[in-house]
């Protein structure tokens, strides 16, 4: 912040210094993710941060930027994973076809849930999204011949990733991490484009004042439905990544506890910021990893930490840090 116009670095992209650097949020985020496996205690943890980071980032479009507190994001995370697994295992599709198809089908599911839930407002919306996501959970539980029911989806493996004549051994953890990171980078680029577009301004206007946005002539209902679908699409890509990574899809992924975990992650990291979701996912997963070493009851600590965050640090770690640095409005 040494440039003479440091006070306006927020409003206008400054030509140098911290302001310019933070404008490049996608590149910066990818750079951090690229070295993540060497910062965290294990590579398995880094892969999980990547996957949950994408899921939570998609959710943040809905919660942080539009102000819609959904409790049903697990439905799209799970749908992405299940559709990918079924496309590969049951229909023998290669991964690069399975993933787009899974995202497309998950987006359709998001449209169906969105049509019902975006008719409601406020707290109602939270309850309805939770209930409808539980409906998806029970459908997956009952349709056992397709989804494996309680045992989860099994019987598909991805050992090589082939694209453009390149063949990568996907079982090698380092290769796996960077292939998945490429998918995460794609999602980040997509999300950044949405936020920078006029539509990004519309959803933030809805968050700040729904009545005013409507009075300005924006179609609030349609915008909410579209952002619900975009959010579902991005989170479902995280599900695809999970399916490719684990080669199984546990039924638990669809449970509302997973939705709650996504909400916790976004709040721990900081809603309304671009990189906050990754910080939140990393914080949650590292906490789980560290605490579960000395007690199986790690959830009681995670719950307590979350309560303390709601009470005293509602902007989360990243959001508070950005505010302290005075760059909060740039929301990188």
């Amino acid at each position: 912040m040494t440039s003479p116009s440091s006070g306006e670095a927020v409003a206008k992209p400054a030509s140098g210094g911290l302001g310019w650097l933070l404008e490049q949020r996608v590149l910066l985020s990818v750079a951090v993710l690229a070295v993540l496996p060497w910062l965290l205690p294990s590579q398995a943890l880094a892969v999980n941060v990547l996957i949950y980071g994408v899921v939570v980032m998609g959710y943040n479009l809905l919660f942080g930027y539009t102000g819609l507190l959904s409790f049903g994001q697990a439905a799209f995370f799970g749908a992405g994973a299940y559709f990918t697994g079924i496309a590969i295992g049951r229909y023998g599709l290669p991964w690069f076809m399975a993933v787009p198809i899974a995202v497309l089908l998950s987006t359709c599911l998001a449209a169906a849930i969105g049509i019902v839930s975006t008719r409601t407002r406020g707290i109602y919306f939270s309850m309805v999204t939770l209930a409808l996501a539980q409906l998806v959970y029970y459908v997956a539980l009952q349709a056992a011949s397709f989804t494996g029911g309680e045992n989860g989806l099994r019987g598909f493996t991805v050992d090589r990733i082939n694209l453009f004549g390149l063949s990568v051994n996907f079982l090698d953890p380092v290769n796996k991490y960077y292939v998945l990171m490429a998918l995460a980078a794609l999602a980040m680029w997509f999300q950044s484009r949405i936020l920078n577009s006029p539509f990004g301004a519309v959803i933030e206007a809805i968050r700040e004042n729904e009545q005013r946005a409507r009075a300005c002539g924006y179609n609030v209902e349609r915008s909410k439905l579209i952002v619900f679908m975009l959010s579902g699409a991005i989170s479902s890509l995280g599900g695809c990544m999970l399916a490719l990574h684990l080669s199984i899809v546990p039924l638990d992924i669809l449970h509302y506890q997973t939705s709650g975990m996504i909400v916790m992650m976004v709040l721990l990291g900081g809603a309304r910021s671009f990189f906050g979701p990754f910080v939140g996912a990393a914080t949650f997963l590292v906490l789980e990893d560290v605490i579960s070493v000395w007690t199986p009851h790690w959830q009681i600590f995670v719950g307590a930490i979350f309560v303390l965050f709601v009470l005293f640090l509602p902007k989360g770690i990243w959001g508070t840090l950005l505010d302290a640095l005075g760059v909060g409005k740039a929301r990188p």
Binding site: R119, S126, V128, Q142, H297, A304, V307
Partner: protein, 291 residues
Amino acid sequence: MDLSLIIMQLLSGIALGAVLVITALGLTIVFGMLGVVNFAHGALFMIGAYAGLYLASLTGSFWWGLLLAPILMGAFGMLIEFVLIRRLYGRSIDDPLLLTFGLSYILVEGVRIVFGSDGIPFPTPPQLIGVLDLGIGFFPRYRLFVIALVAVVLLLLWLALEKTRIGLIVRAGARDPMIMQVLGVDIGRVWLAIFGLGVGLAALGGVLAGPMRSVNPEMGSLVLAEAFVVTVIGGLGSIVGAVVAGLMVGISISLVALFAPEMATIVMFALMAVVLLIRPQGLFGVRGRTT
């Protein structure tokens, strides 16, 4: 399929619905008064069941458990309101929701530490074991008792709200807390009592459900989704809505189980989706009361 079987199933549905009504009522009263959606409601239902079980085994009588568990849990609810929820009034409407969600993690894990993760059987009280001949078929005594008790509790609650001075304050406070404060009513104490009542009702639901479901730390998560469905169908904050929707959901689950068992858990969600498409504010909800 003969008629008596359908009537028996209908009665089962009413018994199931009665527990849902009591549980959803706690949720809806707290929302109506405090504007707080208690995401820990399911966890408190579960702890209510454990408390009932523990007190019953301690005193050797189910009836002490049934009486004391809701009272003690009500006091615990007041403690939660006083220590945690109270700090959040005036902040974003999402904050109490998020806080109670975090609280449910603590409560569920706390129960796992004390009682373990496995389910515990909740014995039916000896006086209520067996079936009663209703002329057209046999029906479990315990379920009849649940229906009767819930009816009595509903009646008492209605009398308290409509016929007493405290009820008047509560109803007026739900409409306009500011005016109540101007009139010299300590609205903070009313909110404390209402939150306690809500948690007490959750605990009562838990104790009543004990002998019908198995008691385990996860039982609350299913109940929370069910209570949400009931309050959304009935209209958030509406007491009549909670009663009608609770019975409606219980009966539909029961009747669908008769014809298509695998659809039983799904039917209530479908019911909710249909109601929302027709009336987004719920059957007895008031438009504009949804935020």
